[in-house]
């Protein structure tokens, strides 16, 4: 069997509900026998994508190939995939055996073969003595096992799993993760797994696709995704991390938290603004300050079971999270060391807010579907398309949405050591803001920008 063969090709799939974009030009290739996880926060579009794969939803554009065959318009019952649903979706009027045999009976498989196959999968999910039980009399975990058995008994080429463990308690979930992984090995078929639980994704997957707001943020192996996140969303979503503004001084030299560090990244150019990620377990913390890269004062120390989690204030006023097996007393002075290989440098996704706009009067400009006052513009004519730039720190957020020039919702927060970087969603587009104030995800805010902070220039094209 050729192991590099792609069993599924998702090509440029887009989907909208109303004017809300759920999937934005998503392309993924899945290898035969791979365990691929679609990971993202709730509402990011991962379940929609899975439903499109199963045939319950249709894409607005793009195509889906299984084994090189276009199945974009094939109805669900003719697709070589089977689904394990989030809330099991067992048939309550049938017992365990009949639930599992449902698909085989439809295919007119001979009775003795049905019997053999049902017993085999029941054994596989360790439910051998339950075949005559009513499905409603089973516990959540048992129902989930029946749901998995019902799907794999049909020997699909691809098994789709929609957050199958989310309704189970923690202990049960851990056990089922191990069983799923073993089942995947034993069956040798392709698993496509949807979850919002990053730990689950790291444990189970061969490949993780991180999705946010309908966009693929990164595709990679669990170690790639964890150790080398490509953007601040992935760094923040997977595991704990310190994400900081930094500056690439030259190759292998980066500056952040007010200090210069050696790193192993090259090719960012000189004096380039970058984002820097340091995992909390990668910062070495010690009592003596000689030989340390920087010094800090411990602010808090919490026992987390295996390790202690500490927040420290560095000498230049940045807050860092550190995990270590040893506890350090709050208020104590400590030295910190960060090794070059533990510093992950990422390109900044943007340096300031940039919008396309139109000058509608000498001192009025339209962008983000609203009119803004700006300083009188010279050299630009009214009605001209213009490029509008606003610094992250020059945008004002107001508690009462109706007091702002436009309204928005806090969609994503990132703590950058000494300030918050917020993504505010407004009318389907985003505006990014640096602030010291504390906001929560989902807060509705008003947005104002002072006329002098709106920089207008000619359109590039």
């Amino acid at each position: 069997m050729n192991n590099n063969e792609n069993i599924i090709e998702i090509r440029n799939v887009s989907k909208k509900f109303g004017d809300k974009c759920i999937l934005n030009n998503v392309s993924i290739s899945v290898k035969k026998g791979e365990f691929l996880t679609l990971l993202g926060p709730s509402g990011c579009g991962k379940t929609t994508l899975l439903r499109i794969l199963a045939g319950f939803g249709t894409a607005d554009s793009g195509e889906i190939l299984i084994n090189g065959k276009d199945i974009t318009n094939v109805p669900p019952h003719e697709r070589p995939v089977n689904t394990v649903f989030q809330r099991y979706a067992l048939f309550p009027h049938l017992d365990v055996y009949e639930n599992i045999a449902f698909g085989l009976k439809l295919q007119k498989v001979p009775v003795d073969e049905i019997d053999r196959r049902v017993r085999k999968v029941l054994k596989m999910v360790s439910m051998t003595d339950y075949e005559d039980r009513d499905v409603d009399s089973l516990s959540g975990g048992q129902q989930q096992r029946v749901a998995i058995a019902r799907a794999i008994v049909n020997q699909p080429q691809v098994l789709l799993l929609d957050e199958p463990l989310s309704a189970l308690d923690l202990k049960m979930r851990k056990d089922m993760q191990i069983e799923l992984k073993e089942m995947h090995k034993k069956l040798g078929i392709t698993f496509i797994y949807v979850t919002h639980d990053q730990e689950e994704a790291l444990t189970l997957s061969d490949t993780i696709v991180v999705i946010d707001d309908g966009d693929i943020k990164q595709i990679g192996t669990p170690t790639d995704i964890y150790n080398e996140p490509q953007n601040s969303f992935v760094a923040d979503f997977i595991g704990e991390s310190n994400i900081l503004n930094g500056r690439m001084i030259k190759d292998r030299h980066v500056e952040f938290v007010g200090h210069e560090f050696e790193c192993i990244d090259e090719g960012f150019g000189e004096n380039t603004a970058v984002d820097v990620v340091v995992r909390p377990e990668d910062i070495y913390i010690m009592n003596k300050t000689e030989g340390a890269h920087l010094t800090a004062k411990v602010k808090s120390c919490t026992f987390k079971g295996v390790h202690y989690e500490m927040f420290v204030d560095t000498d230049k006023g940045y807050e860092l999270m550190i995990q270590d097996y040893n506890a350090f007393e709050p208020e104590s002075e400590v030295g910190l060391i960060i090794r070059p290989a533990d510093i992950q440098v990422m390109h900044k996704e943007r340096l300031c807010n940039t919008f396309e706009g139109e000058l509608i009067a000498e001192d009025k400009v339209e962008f983000l579907d609203a009119e803004w006052e700006c300083l009188p513009q010279q050299g630009l004519s009214v009605g001209e398309k213009v490029k509008v730039e606003v610094d992250f720190s020059k945008v004002d957020l107001i508690d009462h949405p109706e007091d702002g020039n436009i309204e928005g919702e806090v969609a994503f927060l990132l703590y950058k050591g000494d300030h918050y970087h917020l993504s505010i969603k407004t009318h389907g587009s985003y505006i990014w803001i640096d602030t010291n104030d504390i906001w929560d995800k989902g807060d509705l805010v008003g947005i104002n920008i002072a006329p002098k902070d709106i920089k207008i220039s000619k359109c590039d094209d």
């Binding site: 319950f56 109805p75 019952h77 099991y88 979706a89 309550p92 449902f102 698909g103």
Partner: protein
């Protein structure tokens, strides 16, 4: 003391509610031609009713036969129509769904006389000669909303992925309907059928206006005509009693089914 009055009130209400039917039931066991005269205990009216030894037996039997036939056909057809409609309504969204549910409720609240007269006018307007067909059509019309109302809750209670799970396992949409959806909706459909059946049995006004002039009688129109022709035929008293008991038993069955379903849901 307070308890005593509360008890009295309940009993008074029940007496007022059930006095007429008890009255008829009691006087079904005497031979007197005039309702209200007790001439000693007798089951003669019952035996007359069953042996056909009474005036107008033929047309009474015909009326009973019509009533049951019409109720069966109307209940069956409206169960099918109502179930399909309920599935459709369930799959609608937002405003449309609200509107259709509201429109479904109106015929149930509409006075029978209005339904009857408007159907009568409609049939006249469409030049449909009135008789069996129009009565059955009319009964289907007012029975269907009740079926919709008893099937809809079953759909809302159902896990929304169940139908999709059937498709996923290789069932065509029709197979998924037959093997998964219908068995799960069956309790609602049976309740709906019984409800439609009793509504049809019970109906007077709509039948009266849509039966035309071919002499089609159902029980209710027969009794009405009979009572206007110089007093109720005495044999109708035992018949009313039997009918009341029949409906009572049906209601008890429905309630028992509901109680059992509720118990299962709790478990």
């Amino acid at each position: 003391m307070k308890r005593f009055f509360a008890q009295c009130y309940i009993w008074l209400l029940l007496i007022v509610l059930y006095a007429p039917i008890v009255f008829i039931a009691v006087f079904s066991f005497t031979e007197s031609k005039v309702l209200g005269n007790w001439t000693g205990f007798s089951t003669k009216l019952y035996s007359n009713l069953f042996t056909g030894n009474m005036q107008g037996t033929g047309s009474l039997m015909m009326a009973i036969q019509n009533t049951i036939l019409i109720a069966l056909i109307a209940a069956t057809v409206s169960t099918i129509l109502g179930t399909i409609a309920a599935i459709g309504i369930h799959n609608m969204k937002g405003r449309t769904k609200q509107t259709i549910t509201f429109l479904n409720n109106i015929p149930m609240l509409n006075p029978d006389i209005i339904t009857g007269v408007s159907l009568f006018l409609l049939f006249v307007f469409l030049h449909i000669s009135q008789g069996y067909l129009t009565v059955i059509l009319a009964h289907i019309t007012f029975c269907t909303p009740y079926v919709v109302l008893s099937v809809l809750p079953k759909l809302t209670q159902m896990n929304p992925n169940i139908y999709e799970a059937a498709l996923d396992l290789g069932a065509t949409p029709f197979q998924a309907l037959r093997k998964v959806l219908l068995p799960l909706l069956k309790p609602g459909m049976i309740s709906g059928f019984i409800l439609a059946f009793t509504m049809s049995l019970d109906d007077f006004a709509v039948t009266f206006f849509t039966r035309g002039t071919i002499g089609l009688d159902t029980l209710s129109t027969y009794i009405y005509t009979d009572a206007r022709k110089g007093g109720l035929t005495p044999e109708l008293r035992p018949m009313i009693t039997i009918m009341f008991l029949g409906i009572l038993i049906l209601l008890i069955i429905i309630n028992l089914r509901k109680a059992r379903a509720a118990r299962n849901a709790v478990q």
